[in-house]
């Protein structure tokens, strides 16, 4: 089966996710789809699986135009997908999960023998070691992924789309997965593989398509003909100008925050770093390296189990988030803006002022809208939050403006240390520039910033130094000389060193 899209475009309010992208999946080939966060990979996958409908462009199956009104249409057309998020019922057995779409019935009841027989058939084709009568919640992440693949295959799919299948599994498990993919390829399936780790992608795939900012930079080139450097160049865009921000030189007295041999309940060990006042310290790593978890430990949301955390040279005892925010003045901008950063149904004013309510209440303990606005309005203006009124609900703002609000509340709180986690995922280019300027501005005012980002140009534009994390440990540090190619290479070398 041959699946192709030509010249598709897809926009969301405030963001162009795909801008004339094309992709052609051939039978018996594994096609890599790579690009940085926000490049449009997931949007493309969602169009191929009928979850999104493209604004323009053509979708063809075996060169005949096709149209998916829903995800079911795509499945019926033989397109199987394994998404990033798990789509299994944890309490059901492996067999039931695989057969869920078409449960075999007998006398009006589910025929469990047939369920397991059917599941066995598809599992045997890829990995026979999993018992179909096990409950899914007892499996490892890698095994769940295999079950999802079996489930996708059970629907007679000729096309298999895998969205970052190796993001949360170990190298050994990934090798086992690749073996399966090669077998499926030999059976004539057309496979699309979305990946982050280039070495991995280049070793298993036949062709590669690179997306950047919703556009195709490299279109289905045979992998044999491209080298790694070229792919990186197309991903990050060398010609992209690295914006220069006016920066104050970091003060070199006591660090605003220092970690000494820090260990966390989530498994970090030996975390050592110094974060200076006015500095932007980058923290780079692949998905699953433990960056977000470290930030959450620093802000008191995960337990610190060993080592020391010092603020302004003073050790900090165990605490909760409220202590970290109000006493130690640490702010955390979550990567999950909607889930954890903002109260969507509340106004821009309330979202910006939430961190200072305690402080600005008058002697009777009452809050005045005017005293909230006195603090909040200048911040909204400085960050250029585009909202008709500060009373507008945050849900009605674009992604970029929402992100400005979630950074702005920490300006209101006058934090000393700001932990920023993937600040520009899913925002458009202009909003991105404004958010970068906001972060640089925060640092100029003397705030120490820890910037977590998977966007290398963003790192190079903003960070003074970049710490590199792998498997919940810091494995090195790269000085940032604003040379994207050099910094990217050094970081990648660190990550891939064994």
């Amino acid at each position: 089966m041959r699946l192709a899209v030509e010249n598709v475009g897809k926009s969301f309010p405030g963001v162009v996710a795909l801008d004339g992208a094309s992709l052609r999946l051939e039978p018996g080939e594994i096609h890599a789809l790579v690009g940085e966060n926000g490049a449009g990979k997931s949007t493309l996958i969602k169009i191929l699986t009928g979850i999104y409908r493209p604004d323009r462009g053509r979708l063809t199956i075996d060169d005949k135009e096709a149209r998916f009104a829903s995800a079911r249409d795509a499945i019926a057309s033989g397109i199987g997908a394994v998404h990033q998020e798990r789509n299994l019922v944890p309490r059901f057995t492996v067999g039931e999960n695989i057969a869920l779409e078409q449960l075999p019935m007998r006398f009006g009841f589910v025929d469990f023998d047939a369920v397991h027989k059917r599941a066995r058939k598809f599992l045997d084709a890829i990995d026979s070691s999993i018992d179909t009568r096990t409950e899914v919640r007892r499996l490892s992440v890698a095994q769940m992924q295999i079950v999802e693949i079996a489930k996708a295959l059970s629907l007679d799919s000729g096309v298999l789309l895998l969205d970052e299948p190796t993001a949360s599994i170990t190298g050994h498990e990934a090798d086992a997965l690749f073996l399966i993919l090669r077998r499926l390829k030999a059976q004539g399936k057309a496979i699309a593989f979305v990946g982050h780790r280039l070495e991995e992608v280049l070793s298993i795939c036949d062709r590669i398509t690179v997306l950047r900012d919703g556009k195709v930079m490299l279109s289905g080139e045979p992998v044999a003909k491209v080298d790694r450097a070229r792919v990186v160049r197309e991903m990050v865009g060398r010609e992209e100008r690295i914006a220069e921000f006016e920066r104050a030189i970091p003060q070199s007295d006591t660090p605003a925050m220092e970690a000494r041999e820090l260990a966390t309940a989530r498994g970090h060990v030996g975390i050592d770093f110094k974060l200076m006042k006015g500095e932007i310290l980058g923290l780079y790593g692949l998905v699953g390296a433990g960056r977000t978890e470290l930030a959450r430990a620093l802000v008191g949301d995960e337990r610190i189990v060993g080592g020391q955390l010092l603020m302004d040279g003073t050790p900090v005892a165990s605490r909760n988030v409220a202590d970290a925010v109000h006493r130690q003045k640490i702010g955390y901008v979550s990567e999950d803006r909607k889930g954890e950063g903002l109260i969507l149904a509340h106004s821009v004013r309330a979202n910006l002022a939430i961190t200072i309510w305690r402080r600005i209440a008058d002697r009777l303990g009452l809050l005045r809208r005017s005293s909230e606005l006195r603090v909040v309005a200048p911040i909204a203006a400085r960050l250029d939050v585009r909202t008709g009124s500060l009373e507008r609900e945050v849900i009605k703002l674009s992604g970029g403006n929402q992100q400005k609000v979630s950074i702005g509340k920490w300006l209101a709180a006058e934090v000393k240390v700001l932990l920023v986690d993937e600040p520009t995922v899913g925002v458009d280019v202009n909003a991105k520039a404004a958010i970068h300027e906001a972060i640089a501005g925060v640092a100029r005012e003397g705030v120490a910033v820890l910037l977590i980002s998977s966007d290398l140009p963003e790192m190079v534009a903003l960070a003074d130094r970049v710490l590199v994390m792998r498997d919940f440990a810091l494995i090195g540090e790269v000085e940032n000389d604003r040379n994207l190619e050099r910094v990217s290479r050094l970081i990648m070398e660190l990550i891939q060193s064994r």
């Binding site: 409220a322 149904a345 009452l366």
Partner: protein
């Protein structure tokens, strides 16, 4: 401005109340008599506190199904203190309110410490409160309430019962608390998005405990009003509060997941519900229809809430 007005619940409720009032005034001669208005307001007093009690837990996105059992326990403890131990009225009432807050506090601590859903926790504690209630009373009410309390329970200024004073004060205090104090705003923030609130430095667990304590306190207030009104401590006080406690805040537009409640709209919803109950009695309709209508109204209000959420792009 016009669209904002449509987004609010109270104008629609005010219109519904005006229509109902007009209809009853026109069709039922007994409706506008001073005594009927007095009776209507008497039941309004208790219902209002019951509604506020549930409203505070809804604000943080929790459900409290123990309100009625808690109220019953408070009523018989306060009544028992006065009848059996001769405790002065003021002390007994204060003890009742403190007991209510304590029961709510226990609910809150259980919810935050165990991580078990508030519905399940309060379902269990409701049974516990009921059990203590029946253990103390053996289902026999305390009849001898102090004369001053009973007098207060029936005193009125024309159509206005004195009993109206505590709930009205509570309404004003709650409105200011939720809109203008940092704790009140924290309550709504935790209801609006618990993760975001916590990561913004709001002590989430303590706020949930506070909401439950406040809920218990208000339910205790309702129980003590009922005690004064009935002139006896009935073990069954509170047994019919549950549906009403949800109906009023929900009709008043409270977000079911938490984060938005309106004191004014909830109060108007209680007016409307009281009016409906009174109207059905005056029109001599089978009491069965009261329950039926209450259920229908809840479904309609929830349906409307979904519709609004979908239109706002959140659903």
């Amino acid at each position: 401005m016009n669209t904002r007005l449509l987004e609010k619940e109270w104008p629609a409720l005010a219109v519904a109340i005006a229509l109902g009032f007009g209809f009853l005034a026109a069709t039922s001669p007994a409706f506008l008599t001073e005594f009927n208005i007095y009776v209507l307001l008497r039941s309004f007093c208790i219902s209002l506190l019951v509604a506020f009690s549930q409203m505070t837990t809804l604000a943080v996105g929790q459900l409290n199904v123990s309100i009625g059992a808690l109220g019953g326990l408070v009523a018989i403890v306060a009544g028992g203190l006065m009848e059996k131990l001769g405790v002065p009225i003021g002390v007994a009432l204060a003890a009742g309110l403190a007991l209510g807050a304590l029961c709510g506090f226990v609910n809150g601590v259980l919810v935050t410490r165990t991580g078990i859903d508030g519905f399940i926790v309060t379902l269990a504690t409701a049974s516990v409160f009921d059990g203590i209630n029946l253990g103390i009373t053996k289902s026999i009410p305390f009849y001898k309430m102090p004369a001053a309390l009973v007098a207060f329970g029936t005193a009125r200024f024309h159509a206005l019962p004195y009993l109206l004073i505590p709930p009205v004060l509570a309404a004003i205090a709650l409105a200011i608390f939720l809109a203008r104090t940092s704790l009140g705003r924290y309550l709504l923030a935790v209801g609006g998005n618990p993760q975001a609130a916590e990561l913004s430095g709001v002590p989430r667990a303590r706020i949930i405990v506070l909401a439950h304590s406040l809920s218990g306190f208000l339910a205790a207030g309702a129980a003590l009003l009922a005690l004064a009104q009935l002139g006896s401590a009935q073990p069954t006080i509170g047994s019919d509060w549950l549906i009403l406690s949800f109906a009023a805040p929900i009709i008043g537009g409270a977000a079911l997941g938490g984060g938005y409640v309106s004191v004014l709209a909830t109060a108007l919803a209680v007016v409307l519900l009281t009016l409906i109950q009174n109207g059905l009695v005056l029109e001599q309709v089978d009491p069965f229809w009261v329950e039926f209508l209450l259920g229908g109204l809840i479904l309609a209000a929830v349906g409307f809430d979904r519709l609004r959420a979908a239109r706002a792009g959140g659903g």
